[in-house]
C-alpha cells in the first residue's frame, strides 16, 4: 500500500491522529506531508514532542485541536506556525489541550486499558490544570482523562506485510499510542519477510490486530533520525526553522517540500542522503528462541 492510499483509506477529516510518538526520532513526516497534500481538515493531533511535524500541519491549516506536550521545532524551540495560529488565528485558530510528556502518556495508557482516567503525581501546582478541561485535581492527585486516537501512525525500522513492526532505540510513547488507537498505520524503512519479524516476537511493538496498513516508505521519518538507517538532518531542520519564521517563508517551504512533491520517493531525491545515511553496523547480539 502507498502512503497516499493509506491516508486516503484510514484518516478522515476530523480524525484524532497520534503522530510523532517517538518524541524526536522516528517521526512519521511522510505521513504528515501526505495529510497536507490530501488537504485533511479539522484534525486533532495527539503527541508528546513531535519535532516540527505538528507545526507544519498547523501551518497548512489541517488542524482543529492540539493535544500535546510541546509544539515547536527542535532546532530553535519556538514553532512559528503554532505562534501565528495561536496569536493571530493564521491560517486558522486551534484549540489547545496542553499536556506534559508524562500526562499524555498516562492519557494514552488510560485509553489502552479502557478506563476514563489515570491518576498521576505530575501537574500539581501548574496552571495547565486550569486550561486543559481533561485534567483536574482530585484529592491531591491529578486525574488525566483518556485520549483515544482514531489512528496512530508510526514510523519503524522494519515491518512485514502482515503488520508486525520492529522498532528499536528509545520508544517514547509509541506503545501506548498504538494500543490506545482504534487503528494503526505503520510506515517502515524495510519491508521484510515474516520470518524476520517472527524470529523476535519481543521486538514487535504492537499486536498485528491493530494494524490496518503497512507502507514501505524509506526515509519517511526524514529529517528526524532512524537508528541504524538515518542521522538527523540538522541542515534541513535548521532550514525549516528559519524559513517558517514568516508566513511567506513557510508557504514557500510548503510548496517546495510538500505540495510540489508527489511522494516520499521524489522527496528523497531532493535530500543530500549521503550526508545523513548511516552506513555502520552495530548489530544486536541474537537471542535463542528455540523450544527444544
Amino acid at each position: 500500500m502507498t502512503m497516499a492510499q493509506a491516508i486516503d483509506a484510514f484518516v478522515a477529516d476530523g480524525a484524532s491522529v497520534a503522530l510523532g510518538t517517538g518524541l524526536e526520532p522516528l517521526i512519521p513526516f511522510a505521513a504528515g506531508h501526505e495529510l497536507i497534500r490530501q488537504r485533511r481538515q479539522d484534525l486533532e493531533l495527539v503527541g508528546p514532542i513531535s519535532d516540527s511535524l505538528f507545526d507544519e500541519l498547523i501551518g497548512a491549516g489541517c488542524v482543529r485541536r492540539i493535544t500535546a506536550a510541546w509544539v515547536g521545532n527542535v532546532s530553535e524551540g519556538l514553532g512559528h506556525c503554532y505562534r501565528r495560529s495561536a496569536e493571530q488565528g493564521v491560517p486558522r485558530s486551534i484549540e489547545i489541550h496542553d499536556h506534559t510528556n508524562f500526562s499524555i502518556s498516562m492519557a494514552l495508557w488510560a485509553a489502552a486499558w479502557n478506563v476514563p482516567y489515570l491518576p498521576a503525581r505530575t501537574l500539581l501546582g501548574s496552571d495547565i490544570l486550569g486550561t486543559n478541561p481533561n485534567i483536574r485535581e482530585v484529592d491531591g492527585l491529578v486525574h488525566i482523562s483518556a485520549v483515544r486516537p482514531d489512528v496512530t501512525i508510526l514510523h519503524v525500522q522494519r515491518c512485514d506485510a502482515q503488520g508486525r513492526a520492529h522498532a528499536w532505540g528509545p520508544l517514547g510513547i509509541s506503545e501506548e499510542a498504538g494500543l490506545a488507537a482504534e487503528r494503526v498505520i505503520i510506515a517502515c524503512e524495510e519491508l521484510v519477510d515474516a520470518a524476520v519479524t517472527l524470529s523476535d516476537p519481543n521486538r514487535i511493538v504492537l499486536p498485528e490486530t491493530k494494524v490496518v496498513a503497512v507502507v514501505h516508505e524509506p526515509g519517511g521519518a526524514h529529517p528526524s533520525p532512524v537508528q541504524g538507517f538515518w542521522k538527523r538532518d540538522h541542515v534541513l531542520d535548521n532550514a525549516y526553522a528559519a524559513e517558517s519564521r514568516t508566513r511567506e517563508g513557510y508557504e514557500a517551504w510548503l510548496k517546495r517540500w510538500v505540495l510540489d512533491v508527489p511522494d516520499r520517493q521524489a522527496y528523497m531525491t531532493m535530500v543530500d542522503v549521503d550526508s545523513i545515511r548511516i552506513t555502520g553496523n552495530r548489530p544486536s547480539e541474537p537471542v535463542n528462541f528455540a523450544d527444544e
Binding site: W70, Y82, D98, W109, R121, T122, L123, G125, I128, Q227
Partner: protein, 250 residues
C-alpha cells in the same frame, strides 16, 4: 585552545558542576546534554543520564547531539525503553537532579513555557511543557538555564507551566503535594541564583567573571536579593572547556 569563553560556555560549566558524582540526572535538550557530558568526563564519572525519550546512559555520546534522541545517544545506552518507564523512576524520587529550559522565570523559580499573555489569545505562544512540568514537580531538585534579560526574569510569570516555589511562602511545595524539592538554582548568562532550603525567593550566589551586580540588577525585573557572601563564579576550567567545545556543532 583559547581561555576566553562565551556566556554559554560559562552556563554549561556551572550546570555541569551542579551534577554530583553517582547522581541520576534527568537531561533535557540542548545545553544540559552538554553539561551532562562535561560532568561525566570531569568530576562525576559515575553520574548517569536519564532522557525522557526513553534512555539511560553512563557515558557521554561520542558525537554531536541535536536532540536527546539522536543516534549517538542511543548507541551504548544502558536502557532503551518507553518514556513512561523513565517517568516512573522520576515519580519515585530516583532522579536527583533535573534540567529545565524556560522562556520566563520569576523570583520564586516558577517557569513559563506556555503563554505570554492570556492563553485564549496569547501575545506569544511558547512551545509548552514538554517534560518540563514533570521534572519541576518530581525531580529531587532542578536547575534552569536562561539568558539574563528583563523580559525573561520577571516579577511573576503570567502562566506557571513548571512550578518552582509557588508564591514563595514557606513549604509551598509540600503543602500543595509536589513530591520533589523544587528549583535549587537559576543559571543565567550573568550570574547564579540559589534558593533558601525549603523554598522562597532566589538570591544571587555568584556573578560570572566580567560581569557585575549592577548588571544583574539592571537585567532583572524584580529587586534582587544578594547573598552576603556573594562571590565570583569560578570560570570554566581548561578541562571543562575542552569537553564543552568537543560537543559544539561543527
Amino acid at each position: 585552545m583559547s581561555d576566553a569563553f562565551t556566556a554559554q560556555e560559562m552556563m554549561i560549566a556551572v550546570a555541569a558542576r551542579e551534577i554530583r558524582d553517582r547522581e541520576l540526572v534527568f537531561v533535557g535538550m540542548r545545553l544540559p546534554i552538554v553539561a551532562y557530558a562535561v560532568a561525566r568526563n570531569t568530576h562525576a564519572p559515575n553520574a548517569r543520564g536519564l532522557f525522557e525519550v526513553g534512555l539511560m546512559r553512563d557515558q557521554a555520546a561520542t558525537s554531536y547531539l541535536g536532540t536527546m534522541g539522536d543516534p549517538p545517544n542511543v548507541a551504548g545506552a544502558l536502557w532503551a525503553t518507553r518514556m513512561s518507564n523513565v517517568m516512573a523512576l522520576m515519580a519515585q524520587g530516583a532522579v536527583d537532579l533535573g534540567f529545565i529550559g524556560g522562556a520566563e522565570v520569576d523570583r520564586y523559580g516558577n517557569l513559563n513555557t506556555s503563554y505570554v499573555g492570556p492563553p485564549e489569545r496569547p501575545r506569544v505562544k511558547l512551545p509548552g511543557s514538554g517534560g518540563g512540568a514533570d521534572i519541576a514537580i518530581l525531580s529531587r531538585r532542578w536547575v534552569t538555564l536562561m539568558t539574563h534579560e528583563r523580559r525573561r526574569l520577571v516579577e511573576r510569570v503570567s502562566f506557571v507551566t513548571s512550578p518552582g516555589h509557588g508564591d514563595g511562602t514557606p513549604d509551598w511545595r509540600r503543602r500543595h503535594g509536589l513530591l520533589g524539592g523544587g528549583p535549587s538554582a537559576i543559571i543565567t548568562t550573568l550570574c547564579v541564583f540559589r534558593f533558601p532550603s525549603g523554598g522562597g525567593e532566589a538570591y544571587v550566589d555568584s556573578v560570572h567573571p566580567g560581569h557585575t551586580l549592577a548588571e544583574v540588577r539592571e537585567a532583572t525585573s524584580w529587586e534582587v536579593k544578594i547573598d552576603a557572601d556573594v562571590r565570583e563564579t569560578p570560570p570554566p576550567t581548561k578541562a571543562e572547556l575542552k569537553e564543552i567545545r568537543a560537543r559544539s556543532q561543527a
